[in-house]
Structures are given as structure tokens and as C-alpha cells.
């Protein structure tokens, strides 16, 4: 009986330690322009984040609106070179004027999250609310050049 209790307790701790993968709950976006019938029009694209490099950057982060008030997005960067400091940055979310289905990470800056030059390593995306981790995607690769 005692061992059963211990097993259940371990399962609970283990479950809490491994939060759900974020998948599309945190997406990157880019805003861009193109010519349509001779006029410049602004567009945007949202997409899954699988990595980051100069060829797969994102200008900002959005989460579905249902994440709700008080949620925050975190980016935690771990450089491969262990002499370099890890960095963790978080942003509050607010309604995204380009698409009301999403909330946008306010004041997100690539340089703040990753540094002015991408350094090889990994990063974690995290959605948190009231101190609880709602989801977490770990070990996303940072390509620091070619």
C-alpha cells in the first residue's frame, strides 16, 4: 500500500515536470509586403517554430487568444558554448491588431531574446500563466551561421 502511494506520487511529480509540448500554441510571425496590381500591400504569415537561423527568423511571437489574460511567453536560450551565459526573456501578451484570433508577445525583440548575432545552441519556448507552465517546447536548435 505504501509502495503504491509512493508510485502514484512519483507519477504526479513526473507528469508535472514534463509539461505538454507547445506545438502551434506558440507561433512565429513575419510581416511582409508585396505588389498587388501595382500597389504595395502589407501581409503577415504565422508559422510553427522548429528552429531559428538567419533563414528561419521570426519577427514576433503569437499565441491563440484562448491562452487568456495574464499569460506570458518565455524564450530560454542555452548557448552550445557553456562559457556563454544562458538567457531567459518573457513577454506579456496583448491582442494582436493584425489578427484577433491571436495574442502577441508585446515588445518582442529578436536581439533581446537571442542576442544581436545568433550563437549556436538550443532554445525553449514556454507559455506560462500564474506561475504554471501551460506548455513547453524544448531543444529547438539555434543555427549560428553557415
Amino acid at each position: 500500500m505504501k509502495s503504491l502511494f509512493f508510485f502514484l506520487a512519483m507519477m504526479t511529480v513526473s507528469f508535472e515536470a514534463h509539461a505538454e509540448n507547445c506545438g502551434d500554441k506558440i507561433q512565429g510571425f513575419n510581416i511582409w509586403e508585396e505588389l498587388e496590381e501595382g500597389k504595395i500591400v502589407e501581409k503577415h504569415t504565422t508559422f510553427s517554430i522548429e528552429e531559428i537561423s538567419r533563414n528561419s527568423y521570426f519577427e514576433g511571437l503569437v499565441v491563440p487568444k484562448k491562452a487568456g489574460k495574464g499569460a506570458k511567453v518565455e524564450v530560454e536560450v542555452q548557448p552550445k558554448n557553456t562559457k556563454l551565459k544562458a538567457r531567459k526573456t518573457s513577454w506579456d501578451l496583448s491582442p494582436w491588431e493584425l489578427d484577433n484570433k491571436y495574442l502577441v508577445a508585446e515588445t518582442y525583440e529578436g536581439a533581446e531574446a537571442f542576442g544581436e548575432e545568433l550563437v549556436e545552441g538550443t532554445f525553449t519556448l514556454r507559455l506560462v500563466k500564474d506561475g504554471k507552465v501551460l506548455c513547453e517546447t524544448k531543444d529547438l536548435k539555434i543555427y549560428g551561421g553557415h
Binding site: G28, E34, N55, Y57, E117, Y143, G145
Partner: protein, 440 residues
């Protein structure tokens, strides 16, 4: 004696006064022999190396200058290609400023011969440093054109001569400050040319307008448009800086529209917009290309759209980094320092349409067939096969592209100047239906 006196007095009479030479722009012939031409291009004379010329102005084609020289004691005028002459500075050689922060002085024309401690700063305080380009033909090596220079004020312990990369020197030797000469009267009509009572300034302006019109006419007849006409002029004469183009370090910026700089020529998309997403304080463009590379890239963009992707969508070309405007070193991106190489995203499936988002070869939207076709197309345009990288193993097998870390989401292609790329560029005629952005 009497005859000699007559000849001498005639020479004195027809020769321009000395003070006129002193005030005029002078140039010296650097080619072993140089044809003198009419404004239409017919050869009328040939002059020897080192002949001193008085430069009267620019031909509207931007490639020739109008000159006056002395033949048999008599002044003659004509046009010569300015790439074969060197403007004379106050020291009898061409003076040049340094672009960037500083430039290494090397003991030999090679990247492996460096005397970094003797690098010359572009500026000391508010004073710009200059070097003197010595009278020696440029040397080519390490994909860099080298010129021998003399330093008026070398650092203590440093030599006063050495080699510098031509790309980072801005010679005063160009003739862009001179007016564009008018062309033959037959090309203007009626009141345009014969108006009376005009001030000299107005007359000069009319002449220049006329020259510009003719220059535009020449460009239109060649079917190049101002961007490619300027790029071709830069290829012929690397020190040329066409006024309509943004030029830096011997490279030219690809034409981009929109406040974010996304809209490239021929329906293409430039996906690394300004400001830099990693450092918004930097508005440094990475769309600067070697003139030959810019010309070939334009040919790629035009012919791909025309022949393989007329309706846009997933096959639309999205290109990113080429080279920085000012920063000579592209940190972590060394093959992008000289403007020869371009990053291009792979193709998307037609059903996916176009989007400015990353695309790796394992993603559903990726179109391997079209990407392989595109890489073969790049090879037909003279892509350097040793520096053609893309990591999809199936596409590599089909195209000969090579693996390189990080190239799962972009094709890395280089178009350095060579016989194939030069021919591609020479054959390029801008089609205003396909590339309206650069045809006017």
C-alpha cells in the same frame, strides 16, 4: 631657322595656355594604345600609352569621356573609353579614400599576406585618410582585385607601399563630377538647340538634359533599363558609380521596393527585411551584390518567372542574404562577404501559395521536384558548383548540390564573375512585362 621659328610660334599659338592645363582635369592613357572615337563611336585616331589628355566631360553613355589632346602640335578632340585612362591627381597618381572603418595593407596581392598592424583607418578625427594608387595594373587573386598603393603618412614602423583590396577604395579618379557633354546638333531640333538670349547656365543645362535624353535613349535601345545599364557600366569600369544605383564596396544594391524592402525585381521576395530583426538599431542592408552577380541574379529572377513560374505562388523566388552594405565581415556568414553568394529558400508546393516563412526540406509545404528544377536552372546560369549547397539528399543526388550544415532551409548559390556568368549578363535584356520594377 626661320622655318623653325615659324613652327615654334605656331605651336605656341595653337597650344592651350599653360594655366588652362593647370585648371583643367587631366588624365593619362594607361592602355598600351587607345582608340580615339567620334561621339558615335567611329575610330579617328589612336594615342600612345602615357599620353596626357585634357578631359572636357562625360559622354552620355557613361562609359566614355570627351578629351582634348595634342597631335603634331595641333589640338584634337574626341572620345575615349574612360576605363583606359587614369585621372591625374595632385601627386601624379590617383588618390583614393577608404570605405569602411579601416583597410589592411598587405605586403603582396593576397589575403594571406597581411600586415594588420599597418591597417589604414578611413578617418583620423574628422580628416579622411587617402592613399595613392600607383601606376600599376590591378592584380587578381583570392577573388579580390588588388592595387598597389602608397601611403602619404604610414604608421611608424610600417612600409609606405603595399597592396589593398580595390573594392574598399573609392578613387577620386572617376569623372562623375564633370558635366555630360552635349552630342551632335543633328540629335536636337529647332528651338531646343537654337534658342537665343539664354544664359550660359541655361544653355549648359539644356545640353545636359539633351545628353540625358540621349543616354536614356541608348539604354532603352539596349533594353537594359537603368539598373542593368548601370550594373553593366560598373562591370566595364569598377570605379564607376552610376548615380541612380546604391553602390558600396564595389557592390551594388539589388533594387527593392516598399518600406520593409521586401519587394524585389521580377516578382521576387527579399526575406531579410530592414530593420535587422535581431538588431533594430541597424538598418544595414544585406542585399549588396557584386555587379556581375547582381546582373546574373536579375537574369535568374526574370527567366525563372518568365519560363517556370509565370503565375507566382509557391514557385516564387524568395532570396535573403547576399552581402552587407558596409560591414566587410559578415559574422558567421563568411561566404557572404564579397557579394557573390545568395541565400534562396526552396520552392513551395503550388497548393501552398507564397508565404514569408521558413521552409525546411522535411516540411509538408516543400516541393522537391520544383526545387531540383530550380537548382538545375541556377547551374545553367553559371552557379559555382563547388559552392552550391542544399541539404535535401534526394535533390542533392539529382542536382549535384552539396551538403553544408544549416542548409536545410535555403539554397546557397554563388555567381562569381567568370566566362559563363559574363555571357549570361551580356545576354540579359530586361523584359518590361516580366520585370516592370527595373525596366524604367
Amino acid at each position: 631657322m626661320c622655318k623653325k621659328l615659324f613652327v615654334l610660334s605656331t605651336l605656341l599659338f595653337v597650344s592651350p595656355p599653360l594655366h588652362a592645363w593647370a585648371e583643367s582635369v587631366q588624365a593619362r592613357v594607361t592602355a598600351s594604345g587607345l582608340n580615339v572615337r567620334t561621339e558615335e563611336g567611329a575610330i579617328t585616331d589612336a594615342i600612345e600609352q602615357s599620353t596626357m589628355l585634357e578631359v572636357l566631360g562625360n559622354h552620355p553613355d557613361g562609359e566614355r569621356i570627351k578629351i582634348r589632346y595634342t597631335r603634331g602640335g595641333r589640338p584634337r578632340e574626341g572620345y575615349v573609353y574612360k576605363k583606359y585612362v587614369r585621372r591625374e591627381g595632385s601627386h601624379g597618381v590617383v588618390e583614393a579614400e577608404i570605405e569602411g572603418d579601416a583597410l589592411a595593407l598587405r605586403s603582396a596581392p593576397s589575403l594571406s599576406n597581411s600586415t594588420w598592424k599597418c591597417a589604414v583607418k578611413a578617418e583620423d578625427g574628422n580628416k579622411k585618410n587617402t592613399v595613392l594608387i600607383l601606376n600599376e595594373p590591378p592584380k587578381h587573386g583570392d577573388e579580390v582585385t588588388w592595387v598597389k598603393v602608397k601611403l602619404p603618412n604610414p604608421l611608424p614602423g610600417c612600409p609606405d607601399t603595399g597592396y589593398m583590396s580595390h573594392s574598399y577604395l573609392k578613387p577620386f579618379g572617376a569623372f562623375d563630377d564633370l558635366k555630360t557633354e552635349a552630342v551632335a546638333q543633328k540629335d536636337c531640333d529647332g528651338a531646343e538647340c537654337k534658342g537665343k538670349g539664354r544664359t550660359e547656365t541655361n544653355a549648359e543645362k539644356d545640353m545636359q538634359d539633351l545628353g540625358k535624353k540621349l543616354g536614356d535613349k541608348i539604354k532603352d535601345e539596349r533594353g537594359d533599363g537603368p539598373f542593368i545599364a548601370g550594373v553593366k557600366a560598373m562591370i566595364k569600369n569598377p570605379s564607376r558609380r552610376p548615380a541612380s544605383l546604391k553602390v558600396s564596396r564595389g557592390m551594388v544594391q539589388m533594387p527593392l521596393l516598399g518600406k520593409r524592402g521586401n519587394i524585389g525585381p521580377c516578382g521576387s521576395h527579399h526575406y531579410f527585411p530592414r530593420p535587422n530583426v535581431f538588431d533594430k538599431s541597424r538598418y544595414e542592408s544585406t542585399a549588396f551584390a557584386n555587379p556581375t552577380t547582381a546582373c546574373v541574379l536579375t537574369s535568374v529572377l526574370q527567366d525563372w518567372k518568365k519560363n517556370f513560374c509565370p503565375n507566382g505562388g509557391g514557385c516564387r523566388i524568395a532570396w535573403g542574404d547576399i552581402s552587407h552594405e558596409h560591414m566587410a565581415e559578415f559574422h558567421g556568414h563568411a561566404s557572404h562577404n564579397r557579394g557573390y553568394c545568395i541565400d534562396i529558400r526552396p520552392m513551395r508546393k503550388p497548393s501552398s501559395g507564397f508565404a514569408d516563412s521558413p521552409l525546411a526540406f522535411w516540411q509538408d509545404d516543400y516541393d522537391p521536384k520544383m526545387t531540383a528544377k530550380f537548382i538545375q536552372f541556377l547551374k545553367s546560369k553559371g552557379a559555382n558548383t563547388r559552392q552550391l549547397f542544399f541539404n535535401d539528399p534526394n535533390v542533392r543526388r539529382q542536382t549535384g548540390a552539396k551538403y553544408a550544415s544549416g542548409h536545410h532551409n535555403h539554397i546557397h548559390v554563388c555567381f562569381p564573375p567568370n566566362d559563363t556568368t559574363n555571357a549570361v549578363c551580356n545576354n540579359l535584356k530586361v523584359d518590361s512585362n516580366v520585370c516592370p520594377e527595373i525596366s524604367q
